[in-house]
Symmetry: C2
Amino acid sequence: MESFIYYNPTKILFGRGKEEEIGEVLKGDKVKRVLFLYGRESIKKMGLYKKVVFALKNAGIEYIEHGGVKPNPLLSHTIEGIRKAKEAKVEAILGVGGGSVVDEAKAIALGVKVGEDNLWSYFRHEKEIEEALPVYDILTLAATGTEMNGNAVITHDETKEKLYISSPLLCPRVSILNPELTYSVPKEYQAYATVDVIAHLIELYFSAEYCPTLQARFIESLIKTVMETTEAILQNPTDYEARAEFMWASTLALNGLAQIGFKGGGFPNHLIAHAIGGLYDLPHGACLSLVIPAWMLWYKDKNLKQFERFAKEIFGKRQAEEGITSLKKWFQKIGSPVSFKEVGLDEKALNEIAQMVEQTAPVWGLERIYDYHTTTQILRFTLDES
Amino acid sequence: MESFIYYNPTKILFGRGKEEEIGEVLKGDKVKRVLFLYGRESIKKMGLYKKVVFALKNAGIEYIEHGGVKPNPLLSHTIEGIRKAKEAKVEAILGVGGGSVVDEAKAIALGVKVGEDNLWSYFRHEKEIEEALPVYDILTLAATGTEMNGNAVITHDETKEKLYISSPLLCPRVSILNPELTYSVPKEYQAYATVDVIAHLIELYFSAEYCPTLQARFIESLIKTVMETTEAILQNPTDYEARAEFMWASTLALNGLAQIGFKGGGFPNHLIAHAIGGLYDLPHGACLSLVIPAWMLWYKDKNLKQFERFAKEIFGKRQAEEGITSLKKWFQKIGSPVSFKEVGLDEKALNEIAQMVEQTAPVWGLERIYDYHTTTQILRFTLDES
């Protein structure tokens, strides 16, 4: 195992009805005024909005609303939130929604401290994060793992760059995870969520020079659970046990535990998928399922043993290529796209994406490999599928 | 999955040479004076004592020494430590050693706040922990998981009760894990450490009414790694990779992750092993290997499917009983005792142990099952082995 630092101070409240505790949680932390962040109408439809408002009022917490967070949250909306938060002198940000809402909550939490004009330079990794307001959240879509890590991804409205920030200071103070709140996630978004979780698990597993056996086993355990529970959820969206195991697995997939001890490696599939998502406003998971099988085919000979291990452990197959094909077929089966054609992208898009990858790769520390040329090579596997 | 709260704010610094950072770590947290706790001569022999002193002096940290912590740390020595700590007005406790040292560090950290006369009532679970000094540690024996949890076990000198306290407030602020510092652990103590880690992993796995599949997989992954790395370590004590994976697995085995989402269950093997350890001052792991196969034989029909799963996943066997026999043989193979005879205990001891179990079971919430009669039934499997 390589040397590592592990530190994750997020407190998780997991289980039925836990969202009703949000008022007391904030009060216990002596928070009196929050920015209440959410997306569109879904939290109102499901009755969660009312519950949160009731809990906040009951605990005597003042709140200022900032609705309308988009699935690929935008810098402009983040900046609006920062201005509201500063004007109202809130002491914390409360995000109620999926990964996008929590990510924007983190970006606002940082922006309040550093100023809206300076915020993007943190996403370009030009400055180091030193302080942020505390973030709290109630999660309604299990996917990104943001509820228990210090990462946040925002898209720049004009340049279309989709970049991330990362700091332990951005770990939510408390995250509330009630699997029942994910019952209404539509099947296609469940599929995208699943792809995202699998992506978090396989990025270092495949791309690292060395993967400790302990980490390989941990990751394979999570992948198996994610696949089984996804199939159960698609059959029966209100299967509590499946929703619960999926939700916790998605948290564990990116709370840092699955990413330590590796030698080298990175998040190349995320790099490319973010380029696609930023340019064409496609769901993150859909972008990932376009990229992953292509990247795997391109990469497999560089780490053949690990690809063979994956084929065997996950699909009971012998050949590396069978593992890749099985995963691709499984993505198709659950309803996530695996070819450019399915999402209306073409050769021209491929070039734009490759340019964006080359431009954003330095932020991911991947500029030595993922230049324009390499990216087109990889994406050709997906394009040719069409 | 059952509802749960997960919160673990310990920061882990893992890798070669990390112990040299202890001075800067304390300085970074604005700690100026610590109680420096350790066991017997081993940290001096291995040169660690000098390194710690050098690091502390270099960072301008004052320290008061409190050596002589015993393998089953005693209340009397803890109380001495509390007095020293109070007199010197230390701001934190630094434990350098194995689980015993870290446990006593936590007990002192609590005792400084609540007073030495009140301390034992916390172990009897009569009072709730509300504050403690911060604890830091450098670990030299991977086994108990204390480096990343809020638990501590202390033995009462007179009554021989061996009881525990548990609170997130007792989680070490920072734990330093350098696998090289475990190179000098003797083979028999490595075996005891291994048994302890396996015990942490199987207690709820077997005793819970319901074990989520995700948790079963996580636990089985850890058991496999623990067994493989133990064999490698016994072959070659300076195998860094094996020491590292074992060390991190032992942390993960009791940092809370492997214990959430279960329905019911408890730590019956620990309850009984602590009774033995408190009465006869035997190593904790040795007590556990005496108890576990006996408890498993006694319990297996109450949760047959899970015992069959264990047999299959860990040993590739079909029958529950084969899994138990295989585990017992493996304990023997690595050198941990599985019969009373091996450690010089007899029928009389069995009765004393069963009495102590009945007396301490309420602290573990296990008084409804583990009375005198049941405990003698269980231990008879171990006694009859003689």
